[in-house]
């Protein structure tokens, strides 16, 4: 995948403090010396390529609803099956296998704590496995974006 200089400037320059003026893409275009249509086309392409997942707001944990990090030690031969079960819940937004005995890690988010607990309980019941509930207790740094090196 070839990224243009415009792509790179957008990716590194606008992970935070996205312009809130009436025509934000025109504002970005102005700053980068291109046309509004170029910025919109570049963002559409980056999204299509999967490099950009979305343009939007990262909400501070527990401000808008409830979320938790959950984990299961899944017997290796059941990993596919249990991962599919976990991913099938719309409340699950990240679901990764990791190289540890506790090998399936996922984030559950919903409108309140009770709804999150219900999902964890159902996953435990349907898989027959213990689900670790590891909610955030203190954030030392929040998601402020990431300085990409090319």
């Amino acid at each position: 995948m070839e990224l243009t200089n415009l792509d790179k400037s957008i990716l590194n320059g606008f992970q935070r403090d996205f312009p809130l003026c009436s025509q934000p893409y025109a504002e970005i275009a102005d700053r980068l010396g291109v046309d509004e249509a170029d910025v919109i086309a570049a963002l559409a392409r980056l999204r299509e390529l999967g490099v950009v997942s979305r343009l939007g707001a990262v909400v501070r944990p527990h401000r808008m609803g409830w979320s938790t990090l959950a984990a299961i030690a899944v017997p290796p031969e059941r990993l596919e099956e249990v991962a599919a079960l976990v991913s099938s819940y719309p409340e699950v937004n990240h679901n990764y296998a990791r190289d540890h005995q506790v090998n399936l890690w996922f984030v559950v988010a919903a409108c309140d704590e009770e709804s999150v607990a219900k999902v964890l309980h159902q996953i435990a019941e349907r898989s027959g496995l213990e689900v670790l509930d590891l909610p955030l207790e203190e954030a030392f740094c929040l998601d402020l974006g990431f300085r990409l090196k090319w």
Binding site: L11, F14, Q15, F18, L20, S22, Q23, P24, Y25, I40, L43, R47, L49, V51, V52, S53, L55, G56, A57, V58, V59, R60, R63, M64, G65, S67, L69, A71, A83, S87, P90, E91, N93, N95, Y96, A97, R98, D99, V102, W105, A109, A110, C111, S115, E130, L132, L134, L136, E137, E138, A139, F140, C141, L142, D143, L144, G145, F146, R147, L148
Partner: protein, 161 residues
């Protein structure tokens, strides 16, 4: 906590992403029955009060060549965890740093941080550097590299059903 009001509806409306049209805030406003200026003002306030920790392009590291995604976990004595958390969070390659509960006996670790690198070796060096820089070489830790990604998208706090 954001209530069941316009702020919540606005945050829900942008969960799928800001529309790629010339006046995206106007489009959002139309769907919510408020004006473009009100959308902009609300987004500015939600950032100022910390409800939105960042507003902008959300990238996927893996697609950009950051193939090694590691969750580093530490079992730090309670009286040292605040200082350790602050010091780890200040390192440029640490993207998230959270304290979470231990769940003995299965899970003894109470501090979690995320490190993204181009490959495993780069991340392993960074973890060793982090332990050195933050005085944590004596603390039990584990590195959990991701091996498969089954699902990745933004969180949704919409009510079910």
């Amino acid at each position: 906590m954001v209530g069941q009001d316009t702020d919540r509806r606005l945050l829900e409306a942008i969960e799928d992403g800001l529309p790629l049209v010339s006046r995206p805030y106007g489009v959002l406003g139309k769907a919510l029955g408020i004006g473009e200026n009100e959308v902009r003002a609300r987004l500015a306030r939600l950032q100022a009060d910390g409800t939105i920790s960042r507003f902008g392009v959300v990238v996927r590291h893996h697609e950009l060549g950051y193939r090694a995604n590691c969750m580093v976990v530490w079992d730090i004595p309670d009286e040292r965890v605040d200082e350790a958390g602050r010091r780890l969070a200040a390192l440029p390659f640490v993207t998230l740093c959270y304290r979470r509960p231990r769940r003995p006996p299965t899970w003894p670790y109470n501090l979690f941080c995320m490190i993204h690198g181009r490959d495993r070796g780069e991340v392993e060096t960074q973890v060793a550097d982090a332990a050195q820089a933050c005085g944590l070489t004596d603390v039990p830790r584990a590195q959990l590299f991701s091996t498969r990604r089954f699902k990745q998208r933004g969180a949704s706090y919409r009510e079910a059903g």
